[in-house]
Symmetry: C2
Amino acid sequence: MTFDLVANDPRTKARAGVVHTDHGPIETPIFMPVGTAGTVKAVQQRDLKDDIQAQIILGNTYHLYLRPGLEVLSKAGGLHQFNGWDRPILTDSGGYQVYSLSGTRKIKEEGVKFRSHIDGSQHLFSPEGVMDIQRTIGADIIMAFDECTPWPCEYSYAARSLDMTHRWLKRCIQRFDSTEGHYGYSQTLFPIVQGSTFKDLRVKSAEFIAEQGREGNAIGGLSVGEPAELMYEMTELVCDILPKDKPRYLMGVGTPANILENIALGVDMFDCVMPTRNARNGMLFTTQGIMNIANKKWADDFTPIDEELGGYVSTFYSRSYVRHLFHSKEMLGPQIASIHNLTFYLWLVKQAREQILAGTFREWKEKMVKQVMTRL
Amino acid sequence: MTFDLVANDPRTKARAGVVHTDHGPIETPIFMPVGTAGTVKAVQQRDLKDDIQAQIILGNTYHLYLRPGLEVLSKAGGLHQFNGWDRPILTDSGGYQVYSLSGTRKIKEEGVKFRSHIDGSQHLFSPEGVMDIQRTIGADIIMAFDECTPWPCEYSYAARSLDMTHRWLKRCIQRFDSTEGHYGYSQTLFPIVQGSTFKDLRVKSAEFIAEQGREGNAIGGLSVGEPAELMYEMTELVCDILPKDKPRYLMGVGTPANILENIALGVDMFDCVMPTRNARNGMLFTTQGIMNIANKKWADDFTPIDEELGGYVSTFYSRSYVRHLFHSKEMLGPQIASIHNLTFYLWLVKQAREQILAGTFREWKEKMVKQVMTRL
């Protein structure tokens, strides 16, 4: 994997670049739809490519490890072959799901023992094991195994956790660098900056991560309940330390405004379940603002969901029709909303990139942050 | 609406024809996907057209009357405008849903009083009212209001019900013929043959229906639990009486074998929820037979769902992947299965038509009935 830094915005820290992988290029800043269990929920692979124009999607190691399991994924020739997505894939380390989904789990130096949320079976995720699992899944970008601390978090816990995350990272790197991809294309390992919302821990972690000299770096443990301003403060602090010539990935972020603000601070890559999860609840992100499409006010609005956005679902289906689908609990409602929201998120980062290239990002960002967060 | 009878199979009673409507032609024999509440469940309109190649879809009067309701449909300019389907639409009369979904309903000469299964509100469906409702929905083909008797059914009940259905038909015709379409294109009314599984009642009804001289005729009250042989006996009896120069629509049928056997008896049009409902439960109809895709045996079968069928979902997604989606309760599973099954049903009737035109229908039908019903 390589990264070309194409442009720096003159008045913010925003950047435009291109990440090159064996499964093709990724133009940054980029939003990566989350394909939890090998599927971006409710979205056909073809629509993900042609309509949404996704350049890279995520897979969740925890979910894929449990189902379909490594044996099937290995026999398939990796996740790309299994789900038919031939552009880049990034997998998380599974840590976040272990902490959030698994009722009983024990974090020790060795790794994390947990029970499957599906059948209660017992498993161990260790730094080495998670590298091996991600080798088998076959993502282009794989993530280090870390502890994502909750928020708020005691300083002493965050400090101890960070040290362990750093020790785990060394083990991840050792395992990753001593193994090879299974499927003939190259994979790369991104380390993750942690440290909760404590400045000194974030600085310490960012410096440690930067020293590892990996091909890209991630920022984790944010957007877990802290105020947005605190998130931006941490992001800026960390981005200023992380190498400029490597892509920076802010994990699990966020609202359209969060994404624009973090782009302005130097973040290149984002992922979040918000566009798809909120879509399933009838919340549509549009170029003009946010709609609760189940609301009665849309019952006889026969205009398209979002004419300006373009794309099939956003211009073909009327607000009235989609409102009816949600009101009638028809599957097609969440399907349309998921494609629409992802199309919007990809449109948003593409627009941001064009504004950065044109040197007009700051003014545009200030206007858009207000516009896209307006409640319609 | 007009009907061109293009070919008669030399060795069965199968026919090939073309129904012409203001929303375009329908090549018969045809299968019509069921779009209950203005949506063929889980299927995008574009995929219905481009992948499934549906030529006409159904809407359910009962569901559409309750949600989104006539006010919205009227403001939208009819169902075609509302859901964006610009090819022909057929609506049922709502009777079947009133009998099956509404807990409390009273059938009287005037019509049927029922309570909404959604909010318990009270409504009356009368022959005249149902004509008006279907005028407002704006389907190209609308159905007479009838009583669909359950099976088994006492002879005396079936006989009395049939007489009422015939009286209702006269009222439907009177209302329909004294009103006009709301949206500038023409609509046509199909009467429905009833009579349970009693030969004399079916003959009486078919003769009565034939006498009305409508542009097309339907056969109702079959595929409600009776043995298939009894259904075929009734279909043949009725088809022999109904005019040859009008399309014949067998309502609510059926399995792939049912469809092929009934084509052989002279039926031109079919609808059924089976391909979509069974899809949502993981039952796939393929050119080679029937698969329960959730079965463990498909876990590491990386071949496409149905290479021979063709089409995006059937050739792009592997059995293993779709099995994983069902196993993981991912929405994409039912979505893929719904498109696949409908593609198969439309393929089946298209193949039947080609075999009729080639004069080879009978041999092909005998082979296919066995092949498509094989459990894989």
